[in-house]
């Protein structure tokens, strides 16, 4: 194959033979059925939270801390209240008095003692911490009034580095906790000491750093909350993506029972995990509404979103030691990890265990020791962000593998293939007891390398040589997207937590006129749940997908749900569609029972097809769904008492994965049900003078088991790739020494644009999961493969120099620094000890 003559925009071909085309569930599942959701969204008829209006609503605006850490000496709301059009002002102290208890904490003692209220009380702990909230007649007046809330602060020393925060002498964020350490534990699998003693080589890396960023959904957080004084019902129209978790956290704080705290959402403008974190604001709005006697509507400004809506986990890895055998077998690794939770624990410290869903990454590593510390710092609280807590760990492993290959002269492709979990190994139990369900990683890598023509780029790389001013680099990223959490892993963080398992609920109904209606407990944000649920039900009930009405969005008043309901953590294809499938099968059985009764036939003679039932071999003996509905809803005296009692045509099904409770002592268990894989590869060109990087070619090979809707899966893969590329090259949240955020708009935080994103290639391999009802695996998050891939490509472009790509964020100026051999005077960060 000839070398590509010059870097050019790659074509968008996506052709590859599947390894094993999965057996379809039916006629519609497995097809790219165009999305039901599109029409309203394309016409501007979606209903996003800012589109919701309530009678007498006021607009809320939060007054926020300009300091990274400060004591609140006094708050004077009189000037704000004197402004025309202001309905009410609520301060942190007042809010606390209206609450029953602080927000529930996941962390064990001593961090579990920390108290968080809907607004800051006594002190602020990060730049943007909310001290008060104003309700006024318009957005502008609310914003003016929030500026008139006068707060006297006494600045306190600040800590913004996670390692420094763990020092007992560091500035303390939460006095009641008495420590900044949110969680500490050692995950010790296999025998790392034995491996280090017996390896032929030990590769040591001093420090790697995974940076802070977030997927910044284009729709900011928003909520319209009404505390109805008559009924005590608190209506929450919001874009929170995990409403039942939010409900469980704020219900006890507000003193409101579950049936009076009513969450609802229709369209959500992207979430990526970030919208799990809006519950403190929702609680504050509920109290504000209660105080003002009006609905409180709040739509976050972008600056506010960047300051306070939650950032992804920043993680520092220290003292990495990697035992390797002569033949290239990597035995495992040892590392000290410090994760930065920010100023409050929102969903954290669950991240301290979530990464261990993928302890050995894609590899057969046996001996792994991770000494994990999560700290509180004077920064925005972290919140799950696409690839939550696994992408940091997977990036560490990919940096380890590339560094081992480079230091010991192994081919980075061969060392991966050799150490990958092999196709015959599945189901593969990892050192932490997770069971990888299926996959074909070596084949995925081969396909990826074929699609970007890696041989051609290697030739081009040699051809360029020195003196051209350009460097070419080829990189690989191998990651997993572990889906369908076993919430029992929370017990590894805190053995006292009574959580385990997972699940989702759905109603599948035949309605008054024989319509098929479906409600799910999920809160989709672009994943096309209305479409894919329609496909699954259509297959079971023998109708066209267009004959299935799936409710848009979630409404607690009529949707069914379990505590795990929502849309997060790559699980809809398993839990959501599992619930829909179960409900549709129940309904089919009821339909068949009534048809058999009406047609005076045996149930096993009944065919369900085209919105009707008929007796096999006799299409004339038939009853349409409307007739079936009539029997159950409006003509039930013709039924037998037994049928009247048993049949409702209103079928609720809860899908629950087959989990057991993990063991907090050994930190092992089945933490997730499915493991989708993402093998990415890229060729990049770096300009030596400026450090500017151009992506010449990029491919993602995805394997998420049986695919329900190929175009939706492809779209998710492209989106995850784009967010990863943006994070790798452009996007970072950084704080200065005073704890002030340096990027609070899309000017400073450069969200990837159409000019930055290549026309990436995509291929799909299908290894059905043996553990799920439909062979599908959860997907969508990806595993942050672009961060690994681009670091790998940059390292490759650097050639034989000493510089180590040690940070996940590599904007042009960092690449430029690396081209110069790394930071001036820095000691070499990698050493090899061989015996």
């Amino acid at each position: 194959m000839s070398a590509p003559s010059a870097p050019s925009a790659p074509s968008a071909e996506t052709v590859v033979a599947p390894v094993e085309p999965g057996e379809r569930l039916g006629k519609w599942s497995g097809k790219s059925v165009p999305r039901t959701e599109d029409r309203r969204l394309l016409k501007g008829q979606g209903e996003f939270t800012d589109d919701v209006w309530m009678h007498r609503q006021g607009y809320a605006h939060f007054a926020r801390s300009p300091h990274g850490h400060a004591k609140i000496l006094s708050i004077d709301t009189s000037r704000a209240l004197s402004l025309d059009g202001v309905h009410a002002v609520l301060t942190g102290e007042e809010a606390k008095e209206m609450c029953e208890v602080p927000f529930f904490q996941i962390a064990p003692e001593p961090a579990g003692r920390l108290e968080e209220w809907p607004l800051a009380v006594d002190k602020v702990r990060y730049h943007g911490d909310a001290v008060a909230v104003v309700l006024a007649e318009s957005r502008d007046v609310a914003r003016d009034a929030a500026e008139l809330v006068e707060v006297e602060y006494e600045p306190l020393p600040v800590v913004v580095d996670t390692v420094a925060a763990a020092d007992p002498d560091a500035p303390l964020l939460h006095d009641e906790a008495g420590t900044n350490v949110a969680w500490h534990g050692v995950f010790d699998y296999g025998d790392i000491d034995w491996a280090l003693e017996n390896a032929d080589h030990v590769v040591k890396i001093d420090r790697l750093h995974f940076h802070r960023f977030s997927s910044t959904p284009l729709e900011c957080n928003a909520a319209v909350v009404n505390w109805d004084p008559g009924t005590g019902v608190v209506d929450v129209k919001s874009n929170n993506q995990m409403p039942m978790f939010a409900s469980m956290v704020i219900g006890p704080t507000l003193g409101v029972a579950s049936n009076k705290l009513q969450f609802a959402s229709q369209d959500i403008g992207g979430a990526f995990g970030n919208k799990i974190g809006s519950y403190p604001q929702i609680a504050a709005l509920a109290l504000l509404s209660r105080k003002a006697g009006r609905p409180a509507k709040w739509t976050e400004y972008r600056q506010e979103h960047m300051l306070t809506a939650g950032h992804g986990n920043e993680r520092t890895f220290l003292d990495i030691e990697v035992p390797v055998l002569k033949d290239g077998t990597i035995l495992g690794f040892k590392v000290r990890a410090f994760d930065d939770a920010g100023a409050y624990l929102h969903y954290e410290p669950l991240g301290a265990v979530i990464w261990s869903q993928v302890t050995p990454g894609c590899y057969r590593l046996k001996h792994i020791q991770v000494d994990y510390t999560e700290t509180l710092t004077n920064k925005c609280p972290t919140i799950p962000n696409r690839g939550y807590s696994r992408l940091q760990h997977l990036w560490l492993i990919e940096r380890i593998v590339d560094t081992v290959a480079r230091e010991l002269d192994f081919d980075p492709v061969e060392v991966r293939k050799q150490n990958y979990v092999q196709p015959d190994d599945y189901p593969y139990e990892t050192p932490s007891g997770c069971v990888y369900d299926s996959g074909d990683l070596p084949r995925s890598l081969e396909v990826a390398l074929e699609l970007i023509d890696v041989k051609g780029w290697r030739a081009r790389q040699r051809e360029l040589g020195t003196g051209s001013g350009k460097r070419i680099g080829i990189g690989i990223g191998s990651t997993l997207d572990s889906g369908t959490n076993n919430f029992g892993q929370a017990r590894i963080i805190n053995p006292d937590l009574p959580f385990s398992g997972n699940g989702e609920a759905a109603y599948v109904k035949l309605d008054l006129y024989g319509e098929i209606n479906v409600d799910i407990g999920t809160t989709p944000q672009g994943q096309g749940h209305e479409t894919t649920a329609g496909q699954v039900v259509a297959d079971v009930l023998g109708v066209e997908p267009s004959a299935v009405n799936v409710s848009a969005g979630f409404d607690q008043r009529h949707n069914t749900y379990v505590a795990f309901s929502g849309t997060y953590a790559s699980q809809f294809a398993v839990t959501g569609l599992g619930a829909v499938l179960g409900g549709a099968e129940m309904l089919r059985r009821e339909i068949v029972t009534l048809a058999a009764f009406a047609l005076e036939a045996d149930e096993d003679e009944i065919e369900v097809e085209g919105g009707a039932c008929h007796v096999r071999g006799d299409p004339e003996r038939a009853i349409p769904f409307i007739g079936i509905a009539n029997l159950a809803f409006s003509n039930n005296a013709v039924l037998t008492p037994e049928l009247r009692e048993r049949i409702s045509l209103n079928c609720r099904y809860v899908y629950t994965p087959p989990f057991t409770v993990p063991d907090p002592e050994t930190k092992t268990g089945e933490l997730t049900l499915t493991y989708a894989s993402q093998i990415h590869a890229a060729a990049v060109e770096i300009d030596e003078e400026t450090g500017r990087l151009e992506i010449l070619d990029y491919v993602a090979v995805d394997d998420c088991g049986r695919v329900i809707n190929p175009q939706i899966v492809e779209g998710q893969v492209q989106g995850a790739a784009a967010l990863g590329i943006g994070a790798a090259l452009y996007e970072a949240f950084e704080y200065d020494a005073d704890g002030l955020l340096q990027q609070s708009s899309f000017y400073d935080y450069h969200a990837l644009t159409a000019l930055d994103m290549p026309m990436m290639k995509y291929a799909d391999i299908e290894s059905p999961s043996p553990f799920t009802p439909n062979g599908a695996k959860g997907m969508g998050e990806g595993g942050g493969a672009p961060l690994s891939t681009l670091c790998s490509a940059i390292q490759d472009a650097l050639g034989d120099g000493d510089a180590l790509v040690a940070d996940s964020h590599n904007p042009w100026f960092r690449i430029h620094e690396l081209l110069g051999g790394g930071a001036d005077g820095a000691p070499r960060a990698v050493r090899v000890e061989s015996r």
């Binding site: 925009a9 052709v15 590859v16 599947p18 085309p21 097809k31 790219s32 059925v33 165009p34 999305r35 959701e37 599109d38 029409r39 309203r40 394309l42 016409k43 501007g44 979606g46 996003f48 800012d50 209006w53 059009g85 318009s138 957005r139 502008d140 007046v141 910044t216 959904p217 284009l218 729709e219 959500i268 403008g269 992207g270 990526f272 739509t299 400004y301 972008r302 944000q525 672009g526 994943q527 695919v707 190929p710 175009q711 939706i712 899966v713 492809e714 779209g715 492209q718 989106g719 784009a722 967010l723 708009s745 899309f746 969200a751 644009t753 159409a754 000019l755 994103m757 026309m759 990436m760």
Partner: protein
Amino acid sequence: MSDAGMVHPITVTINGERYARTVQARKLLVHFIRDELALKGTHIGCDTGNCGACSIIVNGKLIKSCMMLAVQADGATIETIEGLEAEGELTPVQRAFHEHHGLQCGYCTPGMVMSATYLLRGNPDPSEEEIRRAIRGNICRCTGYVNIVRSVKAAAGAGEPAAADRAEASR
């Protein structure tokens, strides 16, 4: 500083309908359209003119409606996403986004569709580079722009195979 002071009468024609209102001098056009006229299809994704979710066409020019005051639009003829369809039919641009899976959450979509529509009015057969430049001021966080670029190409009649067919072919 309250909303009572500094008001101005304006008249605008949006999607063929005339609206005469009194607005505050500081009222952004996008807030006027959303909050005063309750046309909710035009979205807001940033405070700084970066994201393009509020893109509309004013007097034949594509603008970001968060970068214009409502008073500046006095006398203007405006097109928003709600005005694109004719008799319930999707426009070729909207249809192409549907067929090529050019949208996921749908939040950037109205602005993206307005930008693409404006591009194709002036340049019926744009290159990929021209498409990317035309939508560089519209941020999408879901799609990675891949299927958006394909959608715009298809709307221009470049004969892109539909996303469904392409995704099938990749299997």
